[in-house]
Symmetry: C2
Subunit: 201 residues, 2 copies
């Protein structure tokens, strides 16, 4: 469960809020869900939701039982801009996934795929907590940014699948350095080079 | 279920063979499992396994309920060699996954992740039926080939995850042409260019 730095509070109340939040996020998506609705459906005051979980993004992290807070990791990768972003992204990503938090993340990824609603939660998490934050740090053409972010996500999700979930060799045991050198140029290209191959003369 | 072109035969016997085969492949892997052991454990003659399912790779496909036979698709992509392989791979891959067979494949992919044994089956399938066949068609340095294949697999598995399973926009609705142009250079680089960035002078 994501650490919020707040005291645990009444467990039944917390669970009621989490359960209402999970349903709200799955049904209405992250943007469509509101703290007010979640509080109403849990039978508590909205102030109590804020008190236990903080802002909506923290509540969403707690609902997902996310072992990592993208709000902490993503600025380190993207704040410095496009120069070298591929290498920073792959290196940071592997650092997190090769850590104990990575095992929790892999379990989350696996179980999220079992139901339509939990897959939707994972999609919402990826889009609103990861991709949207990342794009926010980069100076990209707004017409291209979501496509570039999705291409990056496809390469990184594939590493999760092949290295951490299916554990296909040799990728499961390749060193971080080896993977950084191999994959960083892909990410760099998806983010900073023209997406279309020029037509031959 | 993979079509073998053979008559269905006795359903109980077929199911007994499939069940024994599933266990054998999950426990011993594709290479470690033998038709003879599978027949013994199903209580039938090995000739009957051949009669119903054909060779071991076809039995494995049937066990996986694979909607696509990699033995038919892969030569079309790789037989012509490295020149243009990135484009042929992405185009063929999207053609298959955007077809009705793709929905079955996505369901298979999802359910395979739910258990350790079924994830192992999917890994075995990927390694022995897809990557090994693909490598077999290309003239690659044997010391690098498995790593190159795993890198390609990571990009393609990520497309499965983002486009077909999580259905993240805009990737879920990007045209095949757009994806071919964006992703083919990645595949081409993983297969045909030096994997390491040269150190600067």
């Amino acid at each position: 469960m994501a650490r919020t730095g707040r005291r645990p509070g009444n467990q039944d109340t917390r669970q009621a809020i989490l359960s209402a939040a999970r349903q709200a996020f799955a049904e209405r998506g992250y943007d469509g869900a509101s703290i007010r609705q979640i509080a109403t459906s849990a039978g508590v005051d909205p102030a109590l939701v804020h008190h236990y979980f903080g802002a909506k993004d923290k509540l969403f992290l707690a609902t997902m039982e996310a072992p990592i807070d993208p709000g902490e990791v993503i600025p380190k990768i993207f704040e410095a801009g496009l120069d070298g972003v591929g290498e920073r992204l792959v290196r940071t990503f592997l650092g997190v996934w090769d850590s104990p938090a990575g095992s929790s993340a892999a379990a989350l990824f696996r179980s999220a795929l079992q139901h339509e609603w939990s897959a939707r939660m994972l999609r919402e998490f990826l889009v609103t907590q990861v991709l949207r934050r990342a794009i926010g740090h980069l100076q990209l053409d707004p017409a291209e940014a979501p496509r570039r972010a999705a291409l990056v996500a496809s390469q990184m999700a594939g590493i999760v699948m092949v290295r951490y979930i299916l554990k296909v060799e040799p990728m499961a045991s390749m060193s971080q350095e080896e993977l950084v050198h191999s994959i960083a140029p892909t990410i760099q290209r998806y983010l900073s080079e023209p997406l279309y191959s020029p037509a031959p003369d």
